[in-house]
C-alpha cells in the first residue's frame, strides 16, 4: 500500500488516522515484545493504581504506562532518575494522540545484569549436578530440633517461630543468626549454615523475607548454594515470595515459597495429629485390654470346668469304686483260699483220725488211767487203786487191791 498523500482526494478524520496508525503499530511484531532501556522521569501514581512515567535517554523520550495489575507485581523502585529496562508493547493512546509503551515488566538496570548473572550461575551449578533431585534428602516427619538460619531481627524469623509454635510446640528451635543481605551475607550465611549443622538438627530452615532481586542476591551465591546442596542435614529454603527463585531454592532439599511455608513444610505432622494418634492408641489399648480380659474370663471358665473334673469329690468317688473293687477281689481271694484250706484240713483230719486212739481201741486195745491223778498206766507198777479203762465204745472202772 502506498503512503497516502496529504493532497489526495480522501480526507481522514482524526479518529480514522489515529486508528490507522495504531493498527500499523499493533501489527508490527517487533513492537509487541520489546525491552527498552532508559531513565525514569515524571513518575506519577494516581489513585487509580496505574503508574505513568516517561522513559528517556539523552536525546529522546517515550511515554509509558503500567496498569495497576502489572504495577503490583513489579518490584523495581519506580523513582525519577532510576535507570531501568522496561518490557512491553508499543501502541497508541487514541484519546491523547500518543504512542506509548504499555509496560508489563520492569527491572532496574542492575537487576537486569543480575538476572543474566543468575542464569549463568544456575547453568554452571546445574552442570555440576548441584540441583540433582537424587541427592535431595527427605524431610523428617517429626523433627526434635529445627535449625533456623536467618536474620535475628527479620520478619521471617517471627513468621517461622509463630508457625512452629502453632504447629509443633513440642519441637525445639535453634537460631543460627546471619545477616541476609549485603556484601558479607554470603560468607556469613555459609558459616551460619555450618554452625547450624553442628547442632545436629533434624532439619534446617534457610529463610528470608521478601525484597528486590538485589536484596535476595546473597541466596544466589554459588558457595552458599554448594554448601546447601552438600548439607548432611536436609535444608528447606524459603526466600522472598512465591515468585522469587534463588539458587539456594534449587540446591535445597525442598523449596518453600515463603518463610512461613518453610516452617509448615518442616512440620508435616502437627501437635493436633499427635493428639489424634495418642487418642487412637488409648482406644486401641482399652479395647485390647477388654479382649484380654474376655479371653481371661473364658480361660477361667474352662479352667473351672477342668478343675471340676479333678475335684476331690470326684476322686473320692472313684477311690470308693476302687475300694469296692479291691474288697470284692479280696473276698474272692479269701473265699478261694478258704476253700483250699478246708480241703487241706479235711485231709489233715483224716490223717489225724488215723492216729486217733479210738482206731486202736477198735482193734481191741484199751487205755487205762488212774482215777486219782488221771495219768496213763503203761507199766504194771503204775497200776493202783481205782482206774478208768477206756475201750472203743465207752469206759468202765476197775479196782486193784
Amino acid at each position: 500500500m502506498s503512503q497516502p498523500s496529504l493532497f489526495s482526494a480522501k480526507t481522514w478524520t482524526v479518529t480514522e488516522l489515529t486508528r490507522h496508525v495504531r493498527t500499523r503499530l499493533d501489527s508490527d511484531e517487533a513492537l509487541q515484545d520489546v525491552w527498552i532501556q532508559g531513565e525514569l522521569s515524571n513518575v506519577s501514581r494516581p489513585a487509580s493504581g496505574h503508574v505513568y512515567f516517561t522513559l528517556k535517554d539523552a536525546s529522546a523520550a517515550l511515554r509509558c504506562v503500567i496498569w495497576r495489575t502489572e504495577a503490583r507485581r513489579i518490584k523495581a523502585r519506580l523513582q525519577d532518575g532510576e535507570a531501568v529496562d522496561a518490557h512491553g508493547h508499543i501502541s497508541v493512546f487514541e484519546a491523547g494522540g500518543q504512542y506509548q509503551l504499555y509496560v508489563d515488566d520492569l527491572r532496574s538496570m542492575g537487576e537486569g545484569t543480575l538476572f543474566q548473572e543468575f542464569v549463568r550461575l544456575k547453568a554452571a551449578l546445574e552442570a555440576d549436578g548441584i540441583f540433582d533431585p537424587a541427592r535431595k534428602l527427605p524431610i523428617p516427619a517429626l523433627p526434635h530440633l529445627i535449625g533456623i538460619v536467618t536474620s535475628p531481627t527479620g520478619a521471617a524469623l517471627r513468621d517461622v517461630l509463630d508457625t512452629l509454635r502453632r504447629r509443633l510446640p513440642l519441637a525445639e528451635a535453634v537460631l543460627s543468626p546471619s545477616p541476609v543481605q549485603g556484601a558479607e551475607a554470603p560468607t556469613s550465611l555459609v558459616t551460619a549454615v555450618r554452625a547450624a549443622q553442628r547442632q545436629n538438627p533434624d532439619v534446617i530452615l534457610l529463610v528470608r523475607g521478601g525484597g528486590s532481586i538485589e536484596d535476595l542476591w546473597a541466596f544466589n551465591d554459588p558457595a552458599l548454594a554448594r554448601t546447601v546442596a552438600a548439607s548432611p542435614v536436609p535444608i528447606i529454603c524459603g526466600v522472598g515470595h512465591e515468585t522469587d527463585f534463588t539458587l539456594c531454592d534449587f540446591a535445597a532439599a525442598l523449596r518453600a515459597p515463603t518463610p512461613t511455608a518453610a516452617a509448615e513444610l518442616a512440620t508435616p505432622v502437627t501437635i493436633g495429629d499427635l493428639r489424634d494418634s495418642v487418642t487412637a492408641l488409648q482406644g486401641r489399648l482399652v479395647s485390647a485390654l477388654h479382649d484380654v480380659l474376655l479371653t481371661g474370663r473364658s480361660l477361667i471358665q474352662s479352667l473351672a470346668y477342668t478343675l471340676g473334673l479333678l475335684s476331690p469329690a470326684r476322686r473320692l468317688e472313684s477311690e470308693r469304686q476302687r475300694h469296692d473293687e479291691l474288697s470284692r477281689r479280696v473276698s474272692l481271694a479269701l473265699t478261694h483260699d478258704l476253700g483250699l484250706r478246708t480241703v487241706a484240713l479235711r485231709g489233715l483230719m483224716q490223717r489225724v483220725n488215723a492216729l486217733s486212739p479210738a482206731a486202736v481201741l477198735e482193734r481191741g486195745f484199751a487205755i487205762v488211767s488212774r482215777t486219782s491223778d488221771g495219768r496213763l498206766v503203761t507199766k504194771v507198777a503204775q497200776a493202783s487203786g481205782h482206774m478208768q479203762v477206756r475201750v472203743s465204745d465207752g469206759e468202765f472202772r476197775v479196782h486193784k487191791n
Binding site: 535453634v174 543460627s176 495418642v278 485390647a288
Partner: protein, 80 residues
C-alpha cells in the same frame, strides 16, 4: 522371660520413644498372646505412658535458642 524393653519411668522418655513403646504394647496386647498377669502389667505401663504423652502435648512450648559461635544461648525475642 525377662523384659527386653527398657523400663525407664515414662517421664524420662521423649514423646516419640513413649509413643513407640505404647504402639508395641498395644500391638502385643492385641495379639492376644500375652498371659493375663503380664497383660495387666503391660496395661499399667501403657496407662503411665499415655498420661506422660498427654502431659507432654498439653505442656509443650517451643524452646528457642540462639547460637553464639557454637554455644546455644537462650533466645530473647524482641517485643516488637
Amino acid at each position: 522371660m525377662a523384659k527386653s524393653t527398657s523400663r525407664k519411668t515414662p517421664k524420662d522418655l521423649t514423646f516419640e520413644i513413649a509413643v513407640a513403646e505404647l504402639e508395641k504394647i498395644v500391638a502385643s496386647l492385641e495379639s492376644g498372646q500375652i498371659p493375663l498377669d503380664e497383660a495387666i502389667g503391660l496395661f499399667e505401663r501403657a496407662k503411665a505412658l499415655l498420661e506422660h504423652c498427654s502431659r507432654l502435648l498439653e505442656s509443650a512450648e517451643l524452646k528457642v535458642k540462639q547460637l553464639e559461635g557454637d554455644e546455644a544461648q537462650p533466645f530473647e525475642e524482641d517485643g516488637s
